[in-house]
Symmetry: C2
Subunit: 265 residues, 2 copies
């Protein structure tokens, strides 16, 4: 097994990784992203995610990461040892494991329509929130993620890292407008809206059949376009005189209330 050292930021591969690290657009264009950390690497191996390159930090790869190298060496991806400074410049977290993969994005054939549960993200901006939302959805049993054009890229290195492997268990459809959701997603469209509607807990029946939970952006909540296609508006009854919930927390509450109700039946 050869380890190819990279020590200069002028190196073409490094420049490519830097682009992938910094830009959701580059991730989309290249059809590849960076997966940092032991857990993501483990999941990628388990799920046979195509690996383009294995990237090691010249100093400070942790013991857990070391233990994965044998498994990674069985594949055909080339290995690179990146100068620590260069590694840190492309790592989505401050104190990474020292092991990063360049992985190929899955090619997803978009079906005519989705007759299953969906989490719809409308203008969610923060990559960390995007990743956490995908992780929470998958944990709740909802594996279809549909995102509006206004969302940050679902596959950015930061979103992937926050998703902790859930991306690889999900089907993610990006750039879907609220109007398109109507034809594409067959489930009942439920708007999580802090500004009104019915009490999530006091309202019966919304969990029946497939649902499309619609979650809005960090600052503004759901857009008018999204609200106008919702069939039902539900709010989480939070403490009076209190700010709304973070979008990831709100999604956790709604999706697990759905899960709780379905398990009871």
């Amino acid at each position: 097994m050869q380890y190819q050292p990279i020590q200069s930021e002028a190196n073409a591969r490094f420049k490519r990784w830097k682009k992938l690290a910094d830009s959701g657009r580059a991730v989309k264009k290249e059809g590849a992203t960076l997966a940092e950390g032991v857990h993501l690497a483990q999941t990628a191996l388990e799920r046979s995610v195509p690996i383009n390159a294995v990237i090691l930090r010249s100093k400070g790869i942790n013991a857990e990461a070391e233990s994965l190298l044998t498994g990674l060496q069985r594949g055909s991806a080339p290995f690179f040892v990146l100068d620590s400074t260069l590694y840190d410049a492309i790592s989505p977290v401050e104190h990474g494991a020292g092991l990063m993969l360049e992985v190929r994005l899955p090619v997803l054939n978009r079906p005519q329509s989705l007759d299953e549960d969906v989490l719809y993200l409308d203008g969610v901006q923060d990559p960390g929130n995007i990743g956490t939302l995908i992780r929470t959805a998958v944990a709740s049993g909802v594996t279809n993620i549909v995102a509006s054009a206004g969302c940050a890229n679902c596959w950015s290195a930061k979103a992937l890292r926050a998703g902790m492997g859930a991306h690889f268990a999900a089907a993610i459809y990006e750039n879907v407008s609220p109007e398109e959701v109507v034809g594409f997603c067959r489930g009942r469209r439920l708007a999580a809206d802090a500004r009104g509607g019915s009490d999530l807990y006091a309202t019966a029946g919304w969990e029946k059949g497939p649902t499309v939970w619609m979650m809005g952006s960090e600052g503004q909540g759901l857009s008018d376009a999204a609200l106008s296609v919702a069939e039902q508006r539900l709010y989480i009854p939070i403490q009076a005189d209190c700010e709304s919930l973070n979008v990831s927390a709100a999604a956790a509450v709604c999706l697990f209330e759905q899960r709780r109700r379905r398990r009871e039946r």
Copy 2:
């Protein structure tokens, strides 16, 4: 009203703010922190939080922030206009509102014991998670936050920003070990533990009386010390073959299940 311009990073006030921005230890030592954004400033005004200084960005203060200036001018805090580059160097978010307050931390008299609901944080590292956890707890009606020494500072600029004002509605006790929790918190100690225990939804009665929900660190979950003082271990039944939830999402699920049950009674 005087606006004092600051253009050099050698300025003593700027250096102080930079320390507050970068170090939880400095926040603790100085008894002050930075509150960026319109919403935090609004909450600080409403709740009469002591303001040491009003800090404006020389370029790009947004319209919403402008509208708060009148209210802030009624106070006695001096105003500073910080060069944009300097402002961005101390802002906890990338595209801030251009309005930041230096606020004094509340002085909290620690009572003998707490006979109320508590959220206990054990080694939570990420300031964003800390803030979101406090926000979620307050929204669920739990206003006592107790944190272990291993946690990141609850009042760092980043944690405060993620808390979106919830800090000012909470009583936050830091540096409390799991052993101390036993004497200090009178409620039933519930461990949120992905590794075992009883099903959160299938288990009756845990929501009665005050509770102490214990949440562990991002990577490791609850420490042995915390688990050993727990009276009950509860897990969230997530989808099989799936990674655990993010700590903020897990807390949202547990605290709102508590809220749901209590509202039903």
